[in-house]
């Protein structure tokens, strides 16, 4: 019975909900980033690499300037520049988008590991460099439960929630959103109507990369205050799964990200639970949990959600 007792204890503790929200934050950013790209018909398997660049660049510029906000700004600038290669290859050169995205992932892994030594003088993980201050919502301080969750949080969490609202309005309530959907569903028809297919696709991929970069920056300057090699740890791919489970809708992506975040929070809380004791050797089995859930979700829901019809297909103008 101790297992059920442990899980019950975790579920009534506001800390669990706060952790779930924090674990979900990078996924919310990245899955919205992926949605922006795929809405216009460009698959973006490079989310993992873009996040890694975002995490790295934000720490580098925090280290150089002492201001994490400049770090975040530079992460976005460099992230857009880095992703441009994927956009350029996919849109201008009709590259295989999956392979080109994989190339970006591998380059990001190599480049960040390569530059760590000359910049920070050590490999593996940097020292603590600096992080963004939490936002304290004073009016929530004494509210039971809700206050415990929301009183003291990273501003990234709110930025992520605002991003969901922003992209939902953009997708479903503006002419630009309609054009993005048209280009992603039927580029030929959109082209005939005078919509700039290439321009819209560049907009989708590059705007998406802003969110993915922010997701990466959250993990370094938003949470830990340091950078470690390969620190994204598959979250870029979990975000793709959240995008699919969310049916390419930002609100859906938010809910899916919260589900994955809750799985991660449950995993961490069970490992440190005082009611049951998890031996060190068994901990790797617990760490599989988010990946297994993603596998099941992708396997179980992909057929039921519908991707944009021209997703992943290059568009060539007929001469």
């Amino acid at each position: 019975m101790s297992w059920i007792e442990a899980i019950f204890n975790i579920l009534v503790n506001p800390l669990f909900y706060q952790m779930a929200l924090l674990s979900a934050t990078p996924l919310i950013f990245a899955s919205i980033g992926g949605t922006f790209s795929e809405k216009t018909g460009v698959t973006n398997i490079a989310l993992e690499g873009i996040m890694l660049m975002g995490a790295f660049i934000s720490i580098v510029f925090t280290y150089l300037t002492g201001n994490p906000w400049i770090g975040i700004l530079m992460a976005v600038v460099v992230g857009v520049g880095f992703t441009w290669f994927h956009a350029w290859a996919s849109i201008r050169w009709c590259a295989d988008q999956i392979v080109s995205g994989t190339a970006l992932n591998i380059i990001a892994l190599g480049l960040t590991a390569f530059l760590m030594k000359p910049i920070f003088g050590n490999e593996g993980r940097t020292d603590f460099i600096g992080r963004v201050q939490n936002v304290k919502l004073e009016f929530l301080k004494d509210v039971p439960f809700i206050g415990d969750i929301f009183y003291d949080l990273s501003p990234f969490v709110y930025l992520a929630l605002i991003s969901v609202l922003f992209s939902w309005i953009l997708f479903y309530r503006t002419p630009l959103g309609l054009r993005m959907a048209a280009v992603g569903e039927n580029p030929e028809a959109a082209d005939t109507l005078g919509i700039n297919v290439f321009g819209t696709r560049y907009f989708g991929v590059l705007t998406g990369s802003i969110f993915a970069s922010l997701g990466g920056a959250f993990l370094s300057v938003g949470e830990l205050g340091s950078f470690g090699e390969n620190m994204i740890h598959g979250r870029g791919f979990i975000a793709l799964a959240a995008m699919i489970l969310g049916n390419w809708n930002p609100v859906g992506a938010l809910l899916a990200s919260l589900l994955f975040g809750a799985a991660e929070a449950m995993n961490l809380q069970l490992q440190s639970s005082s009611i049951i004791s998890v031996p060190n050797t068994v901990k790797p089995l617990f760490n599989m949990l988010p990946f297994i859930i993603t596998l099941i979700v992708v396997g179980g829901f992909v057929g039921k959600s519908r991707s944009p019809a021209a997703d992943g297909a290059p568009y060539e103008k007929k001469a």
Binding site: I45, F85, A89, W93, C94, A95, D96, I98, V99, S100, T102, A103, L104, N105, I106, I107, A108, L109, G110, L111, A113, F114, L115, M116, K117, P118, E123, H233, G234, F237, L240, A241, I244, N280, T281, V282, P284, L285, N287, M288, F291, I292, T294, L295, V298, G299, G300, V302, G303
Partner: protein
């Protein structure tokens, strides 16, 4: 036709050259000399019989993961999970090899290799089944399976299989399961594994180019709808392709334990070699013979970069950057093609 073959050969070659040039700019930017770096690399990879033996030992699993990824590509499947399949192949094969006792080597070695292949094939089949029956994209599922394999193997070496103290490791495999050594130079031992891998490449070449079944497989990769109309079951083809691809990756994992000291399963063994397979398959144009040369190139880069790291203090992660750029350029080969056209045109106008 001749033009096409030349072009197929030139795109990867030019991509590698461009990647090396870009990498030299990166090396310059950290204040090192790229010419010195590359010469240390070449000496480190081919400078003597010990270096050559090291390169060939490194090449063996790379050739097999290259074949694994290339085989998938031929059938239109992107197996990015060679990493995890290699780990699972090594795990299952190593468990068999530890317990095989004093069975004669001629029987013990094939049994161990086949177990490794089964381990990889089963692991890959999970992604194959999911793709065939639910349409889940193999890139996401195999990445998830990679992470699960990493955690599972670290559980196995710290838990059920753990021996001794210090770094987690399994017991040593039985002597009868170790591959015969053909070349021993100082600390480097080269087993027959490289020959096994080359034979596998040749078998795959014959299968793809000379058999009906291989032709069908390529048909599915080229146009799945037409192939299905022609009476080929796509579901079956997806699962079979994934299983064979996984078996090749699993083989990469197990020969590395049977043929390379300390002949133990040490958990996270792969160190990115599954991803190397992607670059190798693309450089080799998914052709098994091309993959042999591509694997030699990447193995040389890996061995040479170790020397470069020690002697010139340039992190060996530069190899990942080079590989990533090559993958990018081969994926968008029209960039390279346009560059070729451009230089051709310039030459043409100069002649006129």
């Amino acid at each position: 036709m001749k033009q096409n073959k030349l072009y197929a050969f030139l795109v990867p070659v030019i991509s590698v050259i461009i990647a090396l040039l870009i990498a030299s700019v990166i090396i310059l930017s950290v204040g090192k000399n790229p010419i010195e770096a590359y010469s240390i690399m070449i000496v480190g990879a081919f400078g003597g019989s010990e270096q050559i033996a090291d390169t060939l030992v490194k090449m063996t699993p790379l050739l097999l993961t290259g074949l694994a990824v290339g085989f998938g590509f031929r059938a239109g499947i992107f197996n990015i999970g060679a990493e995890g399949q290699m780990t699972m192949g090594a795990l299952l094969g190593a468990v068999v090899a530890m317990n095989i006792g004093s069975v004669p080597s001629v029987i013990a070695i094939p049994i161990c290799i086949i177990s490794g292949m089964i381990g990889g094939a089963l692991w890959a089949s999970i992604a194959g089944f999911l793709k065939a029956f639910t349409g889940a994209h193999e890139v996401i599922t195999t990445i998830m399976l990679n992470w699960i394999a990493v955690n599972l193997s670290s559980f196995m070496v710290t838990g059920p299989l753990a021996v001794g103290s210090g770094t987690p490791k399994s017991p040593e495999i039985a002597d009868s399961a170790k591959l015969p050594v053909v070349l021993k130079v100082q600390a480097s031992e080269m087993s027959i594994a490289i020959f096994i891998a080359v034979v596998v490449a040749i078998i795959m070449y014959v299968y793809l180019e000379k058999t009906t079944s291989g032709y069908e497989l390529k048909g599915v990769g080229f146009n799945p709808y037409a192939a299905e109309y022609g009476g080929i079951s796509i579901k079956k083809s997806i699962i079979m392709t994934m299983a064979i691809s996984g078996a090749l990756a699993g083989m990469a994992g197990i020969v590395d334990i049977l043929g390379v000291p300390p002949n133990r399963f040490v958990g996270e063994l792969s160190g990115g070699r599954g991803f190397d397979g992607i670059a190798i398959a693309l450089i080799g144009r998914n052709n098994p013979i091309g993959i042999i040369f591509a694997a030699l190139l990447i193995a040389a880069l890996r061995t040479g970069s170790n020397a470069m790291q020690v002697q010139a203090q340039i992190p060996d992660d530069i190899v990942s950057i080079i590989q990533g750029i090559v993958i990018f350029l081969v994926a968008s080969e029209r960039i390279v093609y346009s560059l070729m056209q451009l230089t051709k045109r310039k030459k043409g106008s100069a002649a006129a």
